[in-house]
């Protein structure tokens, strides 16, 4: 009897919608104004159609593969990808400067895109092992190790954006038992980080002192809480001072500016304030000089992106009619800033619908992940959803000007073969696992 494919069609349909919509937007951002609508494989939108074809073949192959293959070969894939990253790093050091891709003909293969897939598989495999749970020092350390190793290798390639993506595995670990306090701590540290950059560190420390002092006063009977408050105060103060130091002395000017631009700061004004004793640590003069050259690029991207999106108004200019898009005013519009095209050509209503559809897909994957019967599938599902979510959050947040300019693609939308193929593999591997869940049940009967 032929086995029925119990694939989650809702996810497949949403995926197809987003991929096609992506190709349409790449065409818009990429083609000339008075160009006749046709497929030109020498242009990016033409290549994207090829990548969609390749993805379809790979998706088909994944669906044909036995579900046990992924569990079986998880570590193998992980090791191969890590190996590729190491090779890249090695050749990079020969070639003076890091390279993030292998060149195959006219196409570039970016292993860091596949590293996420491999890491998801490896983490799922490890946590899915019969006697392993996310408890105990050893297990926790190994789990973090699986995540941090490829992250570090990507970071060494100067691909900060892709490296940050590995942070999303914290969400998976949260599902597997990591205390929620860690997430809250993360948010707290981020909040302190932002205020440290915006305000003089002395003011923050005084504010912390007052809050902790009041907390201590009202809970002076309970020694544990008093101890906690004092600890929080001391740790936070140390954190503020070290942040100040790192920001002023260690971060490169272009990194400082990315952060400042995101926080809506006028870079020149900021440096002027800082040099007048705003910060405890003085900015070096050479750095200040360097900044004005690189400054323009980041703020330019964000400004153009906001103008493009703002030009869309309620319903947008319509397909292929975005004036900013057609004028090619937004750099990297067909890759990292693809959302600008959506904003300008489909307006507020179109963009809202797009965000809703995208979040529906991610939510659907989380939902499917939770209903898995085995840990391997569940962890892999949560990883898939979290990777997509992190990309979506950072990419669109960047285009909307509320997050720093971190160059990571919008999955299924942005131009790029490596990213489209790797995200498709990620999604359909999980959907294959999910389909298998039902097979398992039917077999039981």
């Amino acid at each position: 009897m032929e086995e029925k494919l119990h694939i989650d069609w809702l996810s497949v349909i949403l995926y197809i919608l987003i991929v096609i919509f992506g190709a349409i937007n790449i065409y818009s951002a990429n083609s000339g104004v008075e160009e006749v609508l046709k497929l030109d494989f020498t242009k990016e939108y033409g290549k994207q159609v090829l990548f969609i074809g390749v993805s379809a073949i790979i998706v088909f192959l994944i669906l044909l593969t036995d579900y046990k293959f992924f569990n079986f070969s998880a570590y193998g894939i992980y090791i191969v990808v890590i190996g590729l990253l190491l090779v890249l790093l090695a050749t990079g050091s020969f070639n003076k400067g890091a390279q993030a891709w292998f060149k195959i003909g006219s196409f570039k293969l970016q292993p860091s895109e596949f590293a996420k897939y491999a890491t998801a598989l490896a983490l799922a495999k490890y946590l899915g092992t019969f006697d392993v749970k996310f408890e105990g020092k050893r297990n926790i350390l190994i789990s973090f190790g699986i995540i941090l190793f490829p992250m570090l290798l990507t970071l060494l390639q100067n691909d900060t954006g892709s490296a940050l993506v590995f942070g999303c595995f914290v969400l998976v670990l949260f599902r597997e038992g990591l205390s929620g306090w860690w997430l809250i701590l993360g948010v707290y540290l981020l909040a302190i980080f932002v205020t440290t950059i915006l305000l003089p560190s002395i003011q923050i420390i005084i504010a912390l002192l007052i809050i902790c002092g009041l907390f201590t006063y009202f809970n002076r009977v309970r020694k544990q809480l008093v101890f906690l408050a004092v600890t929080v105060f001391l740790a936070s103060s140390f954190y503020v001072l070290s942040l100040d130091f790192v920001f002023a002395k260690i971060l490169k000017p272009h990194q400082q500016q990315r952060i400042l631009v995101t926080l809506n700061q006028d870079v020149d004004e900021y440096y002027a304030k800082k040099s007048q004793g705003f910060s405890i640590f003085k900015f070096e003069k050479s750095k200040e000089k360097e900044k004005s050259e690189s400054k323009r690029d980041y703020s330019y991207n964000v400004r153009q992106s906001k103008i493009s999106i703002g030009a869309g108004r309620w319903v947008g200019n319509g397909f292929n009619n975005g004036t900013q898009t057609k004028a090619k005013l937004v750099p990297e519009q067909h890759t990292d800033f693809i959302f600008c095209t959506v904003g300008e050509e489909y307006g507020f209503l179109g963009s809202t619908l797009f965000i809703a559809i995208y979040l529906l897909l991610i939510g659907r994957i989380y939902y499917l992940a939770e209903r898995q019967k085995n840990v391997f599938s569940r962890v892999f599902g949560y990883s898939t959803a979290s990777i997509l979510f992190f990309h979506f959050f950072v990419n669109i947040g960047m285009a909307l000007g509320i997050l720093p300019v971190i160059g990571i693609p919008l999955p299924f939308m942005s131009y790029g073969g490596s990213s489209l193929i790797s995200f498709s593999m990620l999604l359909f591997t999980f959907l294959k696992l999910d389909a298998n869940r039902i097979n398992e049940i039917s077999r039981l009967n």
């Binding site: 000339g32 104004v33 008075e34 969400l171 949260f174 599902r175 597997e176 038992g177 929620g180 153009q304 906001k306 103008i307 493009s308 999106i309 703002g310 030009a311 869309g312 108004r313 309620w314 200019n317 009619n321 004036t323 900013q324 057609k326 004028a327 090619k328 005013l329 904003g343 300008e344 307006g347 507020f348 963009s351 809202t352 965000i355 809703a356 979040l359 991610i362 939510g363 989380y366 939902y367 939770e370 959803a385 979510f389 959050f393 669109i396 947040g397 909307l400 000007g401 509320i402």
Partner: protein, 620 residues
């Protein structure tokens, strides 16, 4: 919390992020409209499409001013690589050194933007280039519109075009820097009709200002609408004839159709060719015209106040009769002039005493000294000053001492002094004897040729005039400004005009001051004038209208330093009237001798030349 329940935390985060993003989108796209406008500014470039400027035709429909296409060879320097430079230079008849120089200049200006490499292609070059231009993809021919004049005179009348000044830019939002507008003449006063409506094309540009195509599918584009054609009242044939007659003389002719106030011609001499002030050569030519000692740019007809001389006697007679101090039968003696104490106003030999009619025909000076003094010493007024004020009011009603309101810019009011001026000059209690020279149009009185022609028109109309206007109607709808149809009555009653007209009718007959003038079958009513002036020989002045009944033309001719009114002004006016009233303009003049004499006369004498400093270039 049970671990499987943590799904809801994830779903919660997704919903929260969704809401944050949608709120941010709402702010960027709906609330903050500045991005929308910035988008329009950044991504688009407005290209103005200039409308064709209206043409100007004469009263018979003959084209006077029109537009012509001029062709410039343009180059986009960035693309100008790998082309047959030698072949192109050969076609353009340029040497490669000069060509390279121009290309380098264009590259320096902006390598991506088109620059002119050859301005005003001659027509044969234009047609030749049309055939071969495809071989030079970096080059193309741009068609621009320039003004052309069908006449090599009438420059003051038609005016010229020039670039708008910053002041004008601030006043009128129509103009953009570099735009051309009418600076003088009809080009200026009818600018708003002639200029038309600009069109615009909004094109999409990228960050290098490179055009990427139509913006928003041409939603904001608009077509230009051509300027309205102006039909002028000028008789081109008469205008050209007048210019021929005044050639080599300094002076002016103004001819008006009395029944409408339409100006038939305004001739100034010296004049210049309006085609000199067109296109590239304008600045150069303007400078040399400005430095010309004969002042060709000076619009004498409208701006030069001349002493009217004896032509003023007609006005004095009319005022005298209206004031009741003079009747057609009043006679005054003249024995070689007017003698009153120390004052003597000389007069030529004629019979004595004369009545009003004869005083005009014979132009008796003494007669008008009596008339003017009787006007000023009229016992109806408390003082000479009051009488003088009343007299100036009469003058104003004749369009003297005020702007006539002609539809040309820069008109002069002429000279009519206020009583205070005489107080300053002769003391508080100045008397009529102090100003007696004004009785014969000398002294503290100055009229422009236009004002004198207008007086002829007033007399022809027997007491009223229409504001002189050079334009008949505007546009296809034949719009006529209402002010053109409004009659201005003088303070003198129509019945007093007959005697003056009768006197003027005798001027061109035997016994009159211009007895050699006249056209068989047509009565010309005229008045000669011979104006003393500090610049040399007397000005020859003549005002006239004809025919006596139902007048068709009123004219004033002034020939500076031409001597007696009958010497030059009268014959010229005579020829002008003959020309205008003849049914067929191609018929020869009935007075070929007079025509010949006028055409050949040269009164310019010696005029100094000023070296054009701009021309002097040190040879390398």
């Amino acid at each position: 919390m049970e671990k499987s329940k943590r799904l809801y935390v994830f779903i919660g985060i997704l919903v929260l992020i969704g809401i944050v993003f949608i709120c941010r989108l709402f702010y960027l796209q709906i609330i903050d409209t500045s991005n929308y406008y910035k988008a329009q500014a950044y991504g688009s470039n407005e290209i103005t499409i200039y409308p064709a400027r209206g043409t100007i035709v004469d009263r018979n429909g003959k084209l006077m001013v029109y537009n012509d296409a001029v062709y410039d060879l343009m180059v986009i320097p960035q693309k100008a690589k790998d082309f047959d430079k030698v072949a192109l230079c050969k076609e353009l008849m340029l040497d490669t050194i000069e060509f390279n120089k121009r290309l380098k200049k264009a590259t320096k200006y902006n390598p991506r933007e088109a620059s002119v490499i050859y301005k005003n292609l001659p027509f044969h070059l234009y047609t030749r280039l049309q055939e071969i231009i495809y071989q030079f993809p970096a080059f193309y021919i741009e068609t621009k519109i320039d003004r052309r004049y069908n006449i090599n005179g009438a420059a003051h009348l038609l005016g010229y075009m020039g670039e708008v000044t910053e002041k004008q830019l601030a006043l009128d939002k129509y103009y953009k820097p570099g735009d051309i507008k009418g600076i003088t003449g009809l080009e200026k006063s009818y600018e708003i009709y002639l200029r038309g409506k600009k069109g615009k094309k909004v094109v999409l540009v990228d960050k290098f200002s490179k055009q990427q195509g139509s913006f928003a599918g041409g939603k904001f584009d608009s077509l230009p609408s051509a300027g309205q054609n102006v039909i002028s009242a000028i008789d081109l044939d008469l205008q050209v004839f007048g210019e021929q007659l005044l050639a080599n003389k300094i002076g002016s002719i103004v001819a008006i159709e009395p029944s409408t106030g339409e100006v038939l011609s305004i001739v100034n001499s010296p004049n210049y060719d309006p085609n000199l002030l067109v296109g590239q050569r304008r600045n150069k030519n303007f400078a040399s015209l400005l430095l010309d000692p004969s002042k060709p740019l000076f619009n004498r007809a409208l701006k030069a106040p001349y002493p009217p001389g004896s032509t003023f006697k007609t006005v004095q007679a009319l005022i005298g009769m209206q004031e009741g101090v003079l009747t057609p039968d009043t006679k005054y003696p003249c024995h070689g002039g007017y003698h009153m104490g120390s004052i003597t106003v000389g007069c030529h030999a004629h019979g004595s005493p004369l009545d009003l009619k004869s005083s005009i025909a014979k132009s008796c000076n003494a007669y008008y000294c009596y008339v003017y003094r009787s006007i000023l010493d009229n016992p109806r007024y408390n003082s000479v000053q009051d009488a003088y004020v009343k007299w100036t009011q009469y003058l104003n009603s004749f369009g003297i001492g005020i702007n006539t309101g002609i539809d040309l810019p820069e008109e002069s009011r002429g000279i009519v002094k206020k009583p205070s001026w005489f107080e300053h000059e002769f003391g508080k209690n100045w008397r009529s004897s102090n100003v007696v020279s004004m009785s014969i149009g000398q002294g503290q009185i100055g009229l422009t040729p236009l004002q004198m022609a207008n007086i002829a028109a007033i007399i022809a109309n027997r007491g009223y005039y229409y504001t002189p206007h050079v334009v008949r109607s505007i546009g296809d709808q034949r719009f006529v400004p209402p002010s053109f149809k409004q009659r201005h009555y003088t303070m003198v009653n129509a019945m007093y005009f007959d005697t003056v007209i009768a006197g003027m009718a005798n001027v061109c007959s035997p016994g009159g001051t211009a007895s050699r003038t006249g056209i068989p079958g047509i009565t010309i009513c005229a008045k000669t004038g011979t104006a003393q002036n500090p610049h040399g020989k007397d000005h020859s002045i003549f005002i006239a209208f004809a025919p006596r009944d139902n007048p068709k033309i009123a004219i004033c001719v002034i020939v500076e330093n031409g001597g007696y009114g009958a010497d030059y002004a009268a014959p010229i006016a005579n020829l002008m009237i003959e020309r205008y009233l003849s049914k067929d303009r191609s018929l020869p003049s009935q007075k070929p001798d007079m025509l010949d004499r006028m055409l050949k006369a040269n009164l310019t004498g010696k005029s100094t030349t000023v070296k054009d400093s701009i021309m002097i270039v040190k040879p390398k």
